[in-house]
Structures are given as structure tokens and as C-alpha cells.
Amino acid sequence: MTDAAETGPAGVDADGTGEPERPPMALDEVAALAERVVDNVEAVIVGKRAAIEHVVVTVLARGHLLVEDVPGVGKTTLAKAVSRSIDGSFKRVQFTPDLLPADVTGVNVFNQRTDEFEFQPGPVFANVVLGDEINRAPPKTQSALLEAMEEGQVTTDGETRALPDPFCVIATQNDVEPGQTYELPVAEVDRFTKKIRLGYPSTEEEAEIIGRMAGDHPVDAVEPVASIEEVRRARVAVADVDATEPVREYVARLATYTRQNARLGVSPRGSLALLRTAQARAALDGRGYVIPDDVQTEAPTVFAHRVRSDSGTDGEQVVEDALNRTSVE
């Protein structure tokens, strides 16, 4: 498995463009940076620190995030707040049944003044892309976004254009109206590093949320706390976090367990995603090496949506069993 096949935009950038020698950020700085972002977002999203950390981990692990939940629990707010905390470009795509691929990737428009076709970039050209209610669009449109996630580039009319770095897709989907949605195929769900759920806030939290939001929406007031450059350097540092053989074996054993105990188990891409998020988790702790605890923290959100168990539900139970039964060195 080569890195290039699996990496997102960062990889393309690091390999193909002009800034190969970006100095990695020290790990305690990474931890501090992550903490700043999480604190910043938490000012907006009440009582969801764990979810916010997952988002930050996804960003640092060069992955993409799928948020699934009922409408109105703050999915979009979360994505917005995170992207605003980072001083980068943010675009939002509202997926609807009549949305076309070009609406995502961009179109060539004829400029009468210059007598040329000019590329009008779509919303995908941003550091953080929020794909709202991705399961409302038909598969063709979905796949336009998913291709961008996988390849880190967009091809329109035969011309390939690289996406910015960092590039992170945060997609949301709701699971309350199955009749009017196009469920994401397993192959595409697999491309999301993590899938998280937010869940309803507790009563106290909800009381506080509605209090805060009664006036101006606080998300509009979120100020950036990290620069794009910092995020890039943090991502390089995360990629350097040590994952020794015992940890890699542990990840592989977990994946093997899901394959043996579910109809569809975790792919090697899933294992790689788990290792990367574990690296990011270790970095959040300011630690230069991954320990099994990192893996255990990340496994449920990284593995569960990749497993199809026989009972037809998501693989949460399978992953939980895997964690309980797979021995740790």
C-alpha cells in the first residue's frame, strides 16, 4: 500500500508542489493548537467536546468526516465553527435532489470579453467543505464530491485541478427520512475517515444553547485561532508520530476480528485510517508515539461505519466486541 494512493490533498501537495520542506510543528504545539481550536468551538457547541475533538483529529489526520444525526442538533454549526476557527476558506454545499456534479466541482464559463472559457471553481475548492445533507443528492453528484475527497483533485472538461491544502470535507446526513434520501453506498462511506453522531444535548446544555442562540447566532462571531500554515505543519507533525509494530499489529488484529465476525469487515483503508487518527490522537496528548489507548479511542468512530454486521445494523457492536476481545500487548 503506497502512501500516494491513500493520501488526500496534503500528500499531493507535499509530493508534487513547491513546499516539500515544511518544518513539522513540535508536538506540544500541536497539542496546544488543537486545544485552542477545541476550546474555540466549544464556545459555540455546548457539551460536545468529544465530538469536537473528533473533528480536530480528522483534520489533523488528513481525513474527512461524516456526521450523521437527526436534523437540528448542530451538525452544520459544528462544521462551521471548526472551519471558522481555522483561518482558511470555507464553502458550503447544500445537497438537494436536483444538484448536479458541476454545481460541486465548478464549470467552464465562456467569457465574452476574453473570448475564452474560464473555469468558475465550485464550492469544493476550499480548505473546509461542508457537504450538508449529502444523502439528499443523487449518487452521481455525491460521487463528484467523493472523487475530490479521494483524489485531492478535480477534473473538469479534461483539465485536472488540484484542491487546496488542507482540504477537508465535513459531510452531514440525516437518517430520519430514508424514503427521500440516497443512502451512501458502502464503498463511498468507506472514504470517510470517521463517522460521528452528535446526539441530543442534555437538558441543561439545551437550556444554555437556546439561551446563547436567542440573539445573534454565535457561530458568526467565531474568530480564527489557527492559521492555515499552522494546520499544515501540525499535519506533518502528526504524520511523524511513531506507530511501533505492537500498535500496528494491534490495529491489524482489530481489523481481522471485524472481518471474521461480520458480513463485511474493515478494509485495509480503514486500518490505515485508524492508525492515522490514532497518531493524531497521540499528538493531541502531546505524545510522540501511539499507544493502544489512542487506538481504542479512535476505533469506534473509524471502524463502525465500515462494518456491515449480519443483523444489518452498523458495526458498533462488532467493534466493541473487537476491542473487548482482542488482546493488547
Binding site: 505492537p246 508515539y289 499507544i291 493502544p292 481504542q296 476481545r325
Partner: protein
């Protein structure tokens, strides 16, 4: 049911060519592991049957019949359904029993009735040895093949557990008749367990996975049964039932059977007062069947119907009055008692050996008068008696086990040749004299393995009356002279004219040989003087210890009479009569006693000293007898089995690994590279915490484990060890110093957990 060719394993044979598949299926049925267990238990009960035929004759015949029956059952398994086979077994059983019925003499057949047969069955099941049945050899021939047929059939059908059950049932029957000894029973039970266990584990891999459990269970069975019987019984009866040291009296007074035992002791209690004009050995019972390690009295009893004829030759008539001082089943009187008078006369019976017996025992203090006709043939008349024996007597009283070694007869011939004896009488006298002169008297002998007569003649140099009498009887029989083994009492202490006190210690065994025209004549091969000495000493000891019941008024010695002074060892006057012998007679029962008695300058004589100086018999040292104990075979076997079960158990529960780890934890270590040391430190810590709190669960990370234990009061120092381990394993960056520190910490924690060792090292 009927259509099924061969249950279980033969089903797969159907596709193969008939002959080939048949053979292979058959072979598979034989090599199935559970067959081993069936074979063991079958061998156990067959050994009992064959031991019986060894005594009564016809062992070859019985072995052939059994083999044929077993093979027939096995072969029939393929062609006969189970119900039909069961019916066949019943028919076979009925047929063989009918054969037995017609084989016994018509005179005895008349005795058969439903009630009679029922009584016989009950008495068989309550310990009547099969040897005492009429025509026991025919009985074995009739009965033994039937269960063997069934076992063969069931093995052929693959019904191993049922086969083991059939064989085990037969063995159980033989246990109830008392013919199967402890070892045989144990072997049989182990066989049944083996068959059941292996049959249960016959699925693929079963034996591999659970074989050690089965082995441990079997070993435990052997060990427990051996422990329960071996330890209390000492070396005397390693695999038998614990009976302590039997008294000589009890060992020869047993109903219809005399088993030759090892060490014995003397009971000084008064049994009878006998008024008799002649002093004689008081005859109580005669035995005809020699089993190699004991005697059996075969045949039936019939009510005494008027006086018996008495011996054929000249005889003196005497009237003897017997007063029982304790309850008594026997009627000790001079040979040959012919009539009984008194209240007990109604229950008098006579057995086939001409012995008068009482159906109801005499109560204490009860008297009975017996009329005896004492043969008074002189040696000259006996010498000329000839050898014209009644065939029935000759056949019955020259019986010897087939396994009796030839050298018994050869040695007897040598003895006879050496004394130029021609007539049966002279021969008997020669044998009697030889035994008296060449062998010592001792109550403490180790029971020999194998044939008692052979062992006594060739391997032992001392014994007591049972050994002497058994050997002489066997020797006479080897020369074709009809002889009986006789038990009873010697004359006892004469306490007045024609009055004798007979004590338990006077119990005796001797020999009678048959002379045509004169009847049974007594011989006593036991050295009389030594025996008398032993008994006198025993009585003196008991009197000195103040025992009651050892005297009747007339027999008490005058005060101040020079009786033997008691000494240490008889220091428990409160003990009952029955207990005293254990304290004072110096048999294997009490080691301390033995030491006392063996002290130099000891004035005690007789049984005490006798028992000790005769400790080594036949070159075999007795464990508590003298200072050079060589463990007996049984003891060695016992410890071997114990070792096997110990090793099996230890392996199963990982004792070795745990012990190594426990030692490594507390002792200074040999270090390797830092990462390995750090890991080992954590492994040790984990072991330590596993003992104190709980073990780490499968999916639990070291960090989560230690965090969880913190809530339960985990020592904070352990966390540092966990951290070091984490870095050693997951970062690969751990220094020598850190690793050493981790190991030191763990060792300190371990030592704190074991305070005693801890003080030693700190």
C-alpha cells in the same frame, strides 16, 4: 433395529468391497480406544474366574470356553440385532445353568428347590465364595462364558459403555461373593472409567484436548483408593481393606473361609472351659479346598440326625463338657465329635467333613456336652493302612491349585527320600518333623505373594500355625495323601483334673491325614515349644496389665508367683481388652512400642520379642521391624502414582511457570536490553497486581488497567512502571536507568507483598 448391520462405526463400510471393508471395520472396532477400558474390566473379572478354576481345576477348559464365547459374541455382532442377542444371551445362560444342574450328583440335586436356590443366590451375594459351590469348576465353566459373550457382542456393535457395564456387573457380582479382591476391583473400576471416558472423548481431538483430565481422574481414583487402604493398613495389607492386625483366632475362625494373613496377634481372653478326660487339640473345623492363599470349606451342612458313626477304626469314647465363656459359634471338641447333648443339640448340624457345628452360637456361660470318639490307632497300624483310598475322599482332599509350583512336590519327595519313609504315615511324620525342625515360630510375618505353601517352604524361615499347617497339607497332597487343614484350639491351660481353660491365644491350626480303615489322624507341624513360650508370655503380659477376662477363678496364679514383670509399653490399663494387644504385642502396629521392646536388657520374652526378632522374613525387611526399611512394591507404586498425578496437576495448572515467575519477582535478576527489562518488569507487575486485584482483561490496555486499579488503591509507583513499559513497547525509547528503575520498583512492590522475604532483602 434388526436391519442395522453393525452399529456405529461400520456404517461407513457400506461402500467398500464387502470382504475388505468388513475386515477393516472389524479392525477399527477392535482398535477403538474405549475397547482398552472394556478389555481391562473384562480381564479383571476373568482373572477372578480363572483364579477360581486354578483352585478347583479346569482352568484350560474354562479359558477356552470364555475365549470361544467372546469371539462368538464379537462375530455375531454383525449379523444379529441387539434384542435377539439379548434373548440369545438369556437362552445361553439358561442352557449353561441347566448343564451345571445336570452335572452335579443326583444326591445333591435332590436338595434343589426354589427356596434353596434363592437362599444360595442370597448367600452368594453376601459373601459366599464361588469356591464353596458344589462343582465350582463346572459352575465357572457354565457361568463365565455368558457375560463374555455379551461383552464381545457389545464391543462388536461399538457399544463400549454397555460392554464395560456388562463386564463391570459381572465383576460387581464377584465382588459381592468376595472372590474379587481389592486390587482386582480397583482395576475393574478403572477399566469401566477408562471405557466411559474414552468413549465420551471419542470425537475428533477429544482425547488430545481432555486426555490429561481423564488421566488425572484415573490417577486420582487409583491414588485415593490406594491411600484409603494402604496408609492405615501399613505394610501388612497394602491393597486390602483395613482390618488392623487380626488376631490369630479371628483369622482362622472365619466362617467357612480361612485367609492366610500377615502378622497376627494373640488374644488372651478366655473362650471356653472344657472338662475332658483327655487332653487334645480341640477340633472346630476342617477345610478341603486350598486356594493358594487360604482355605475354603466347601459343601453343604445337614441336620445332625442321631450320633455319627465316628472314625472307622478303634476309638475311645469320651464325653466332653464345653462351657462357652464368650459367645461362640464353634464347638471345640476332641476329634471326632459324634453327638451333642444339651440345649444346643437341636441346632447341631454336620458338614461334609464330619465336623459338628452349631446353627445358633453358644451364649456366654452356656454349656454343651459332646460325645467324641477319639481314634487310638497306633503308628504300626497306621503304617500298614495302605493307600486304598475312597475315590471321593481322594479326589476331594488331594486338591491343589493348578498353579502350585512343582517344586513343592519335589521338595517333599526329597524330604521323604531323606528319611527313607515308605508308608503314607511315615511320609507324613517326615514332613511334620521337617517343618518343626527347620522353621521358626513367629507371629509377625509378612504375607507372601503367591502360593503360601510354596513361599513358606522356599522363601520364609518362620511363621505361625496357619503357615505350618497349610504347608504341610499342601505337601501331603502333593504326594497323593488325602489331607485336611484343621482349625480349632490347642488344649489350653490345665487348671485341675480334666479341666482346661481355653483362651483366644490357644487358637490353632493343624493337619489331618486320612488313613483307610482308621479315618483322619492328627499331625501338628507347628513347633510346640516355641508356640507355648509365645502364648505364656502373652498371657503373662495381659495379667500383668490387669486385663480382665484372661482368667477364670481357678486359673489365676497365686499372688507373688514369679510372673513376668510388666514393663513400658503396657501402660494403659484403661484400655479395653480388645485394645491391649495392639499396645503390647509388638507387631507392626506401634513403632514406639517396638523400639521399647527392642531395647537391650529387655526382660520381656515371647510375642513381644518374638515379633521383633522375626521381623525380617524371607529376606524382606518389614518397614517398622528393623532399621533398614526397604519400601515395599506397593509403597513404591503408590508414590509413583502420586508423582504422576502431581506432575499432571502441576502442568495443568501451570505451577512451574508461576513458581518461576514468583521467584524471579523477588530475587535479583539478570538483565538483558532495557526494553526487554522494562517489559519483564511490567509483566511481573501485572502478575503481582493480578494476584492482589484482578488480572488484566483481554481488550484492556496497560494504561486503562492501571487507571482502573488506581480506584482500588493501586500504589502510585506502579504507574511509573506502566509508563516505562508503554514507552519501551510503543515508543522504543527507554533507557537502561529507567528500565532498572522499573524493575527495582516492581521488586520492591513484590517484596512488600511478601513481608517475610521482604525483610530478608531490604
Amino acid at each position: 433395529m434388526r436391519g442395522r448391520p453393525l452399529g456405529g462405526e461400520s456404517g461407513s463400510d457400506d461402500g467398500e468391497s464387502p470382504g475388505d471393508g468388513d475386515l477393516r471395520g472389524r479392525l477399527r472396532a477392535v482398535v477403538d480406544p474405549p475397547v482398552l477400558g472394556v478389555a481391562v474390566v473384562t480381564a479383571a473379572y476373568l482373572s477372578v474366574f480363572l483364579a477360581a478354576t486354578d483352585v478347583v481345576g479346569g482352568s484350560t477348559r474354562a479359558a477356552v470356553a470364555v475365549a470361544v464365547a467372546g469371539a462368538a459374541g464379537f462375530l455375531l455382532a454383525r449379523y444379529v440385532g441387539e434384542r435377539a442377542a439379548l434373548r440369545l444371551t438369556v437362552v445361553l445362560f439358561a442352557a449353561t445353568l441347566a448343564g451345571y444342574y445336570f452335572a452335579i450328583p443326583e444326591s445333591q440335586r435332590a436338595l434343589f428347590s426354589v427356596r434353596r436356590v434363592a437362599i444360595d443366590v442370597v448367600s452368594l451375594l453376601t459373601g459366599l465364595s464361588i469356591l464353596r459351590l458344589a462343582l465350582a469348576d463346572v459352575w465357572v465353566l457354565a457361568v463365565a462364558p455368558v457375560p463374555t459373550f455379551l461383552v464381545g457382542y457389545l464391543v462388536g456393535r461399538g457399544r463400549h459403555v454397555a460392554a464395560a457395564g456388562a463386564a463391570g456387573g459381572t465383576l460387581a457380582f464377584l465382588v459381592l461373593t468376595g472372590d474379587a479382591g481389592g486390587t482386582t476391583t480397583l482395576v475393574g473400576v478403572v477399566g469401566v472409567a477408562l471405557a466411559a471416558g474414552l468413549s465420551t472423548l471419542s470425537m475428533p481431538g477429544g482425547i488430545r484436548d481432555h486426555g490429561d483430565t481423564l488421566a488425572a481422574v484415573l490417577a486420582a481414583m487409583v491414588l485415593v483408593s490406594a491411600t484409603l487402604t494402604l496408609l492405615p493398613a501399613g505394610a501388612a495389607q497394602p491393597w486390602g481393606i483395613d482390618r488392623g492386625t487380626p488376631t490369630l483366632e479371628s483369622s482362622i475362625e472365619a466362617d467357612d473361609e480361612v485367609e492366610v494373613v500377615g502378622p497376627t496377634r494373640l488374644s488372651p481372653e478366655v473362650r471356653y472351659t472344657i472338662e475332658s478326660p483327655v487332653a487334645a487339640n480341640w477340633h472346630a473345623g476342617a477345610y478341603d479346598t486350598y486356594t493358594g492363599d487360604g482355605w475354603v470349606r466347601s459343601g453343604e451342612q445337614s441336620p445332625l440326625d442321631g450320633p455319627l458313626d465316628g472314625p472307622p477304626g478303634n476309638a475311645t469314647q469320651v464325653n466332653v463338657t464345653i462351657t462357652a465363656e464368650t459367645e461362640s459359634p464353634s464347638l471345640p471338641a476332641p476329634w471326632q465329635a459324634v453327638d451333642v447333648r444339651g440345649p444346643a443339640a437341636q441346632t447341631a448340624r454336620v458338614d461334609e467333613h464330619g465336623t459338628l457345628r452349631l446353627a445358633e452360637p453358644l451364649g456366654a456361660g452356656e454349656s454343651v456336652t459332646v460325645e467324641s470318639r477319639v481314634p487310638d490307632a497306633d503308628p504300626a497300624a497306621l503304617r500298614s493302612a495302605g493307600t486304598d483310598y475312597d475315590p471321593a475322599i481322594e479326589e476331594r482332599y488331594t486338591q491343589l491349585p493348578e498353579s502350585t509350583p512343582d517344586r513343592v512336590g519335589e521338595r517333599t519327595e526329597e524330604i521323604i527320600a531323606a528319611s527313607n519313609a515308605e508308608t503314607p504315615y511315615d511320609r507324613a511324620v517326615a514332613v511334620e518333623r521337617y517343618l518343626r525342625e527347620e522353621y521358626e515360630y513367629s507371629l509377625t510375618v509378612r504375607k507372601p505373594d503367591g502360593d503360601v505353601a510354596d513361599a513358606f517352604l522356599f522363601e520364609m524361615d518362620a511363621g505361625y500355625c496357619v503357615y505350618f499347617a497349610t504347608t504341610m497339607t499342601a505337601m501331603l497332597r502333593s504326594q497323593g495323601i488325602p489331607a485336611q487343614f484343621v482349625t480349632g484350639y490347642s488344649e489350653g491351660e490345665r487348671i485341675g483334673e480334666d479341666r482346661y481353660v481355653v483362651r483366644g491365644q490357644d487358637a490353632h491350626a493343624w493337619v489331618k491325614a486320612y488313613f483307610p480303615g482308621h479315618g483322619w489322624v492328627t499331625f501338628d507341624p507347628t513347633p510346640a515349644a516355641e508356640r507355648e513360650e509365645t502364648r505364656t508370655a502373652r498371657l503373662a503380659d495381659a495379667r500383668a496389665a490387669g486385663d480382665e477376662d484372661v482368667d477364670v477363678p481357678a486359673s489365676e496364679p497365686a499372688r507373688g508367683a514369679p510372673s513376668i514383670v510388666p514393663e513400658a509399653g503396657v501402660n494403659d490399663p484403661s484400655s479395653t481388652t480388645a485394645d491391649v494387644p495392639n499396645d503390647s504385642n509388638g507387631t507392626a502396629a506401634t513403632g514406639g512400642d517396638a523400639a521399647d521392646a527392642a531395647a537391650p536388657g529387655d526382660t520381656a520374652v515371647g510375642a513381644r520379642q518374638e515379633g521383633l526378632t522375626r521381623g525380617a522374613v524371607g529376606g524382606e525387611a518389614r518397614p517398622s521391624g528393623d532399621g533398614s526399611p526397604i519400601p515395599s512394591r506397593e509403597t513404591v507404586a503408590y508414590w509413583l502414582v502420586a508423582a504422576v498425578i502431581g506432575v499432571t496437576g502441576a502442568r495443568r495448572f501451570g505451577v512451574g511457570r508461576r513458581a518461576r515467575r514468583a521467584a524471579r519477582l523477588r530475587l535479583p535478576w539478570v538483565s538483558s536490553d532495557p526494553a526487554t527489562d522494562a517489559r519483564r518488569a511490567f509483566a511481573d507487575l501485572e502478575y503481582l497486581l493480578g494476584r492482589r486485584y484482578r488480572e488484566r482483561r483481554a481488550g484492556e490496555t496497560p494504561r486503562a488497567y492501571l487507571d482502573a486499579l488506581r480506584l482500588r488503591g493501586l500504589d502510585e509507583r506502579a504507574l511509573a512502571v506502566g509508563e516505562t513499559y508503554e514507552r519501551a513497547t510503543y515508543a522504543g525509547t527507554v533507557t537502561r536507568a529507567e528500565a532498572d528503575e522499573a524493575r527495582r520498583t516492581v521488586r520492591r512492590l513484590a517484596l512488600e507483598a511478601t513481608p517475610v522475604l521482604g525483610r530478608l532483602f531490604d
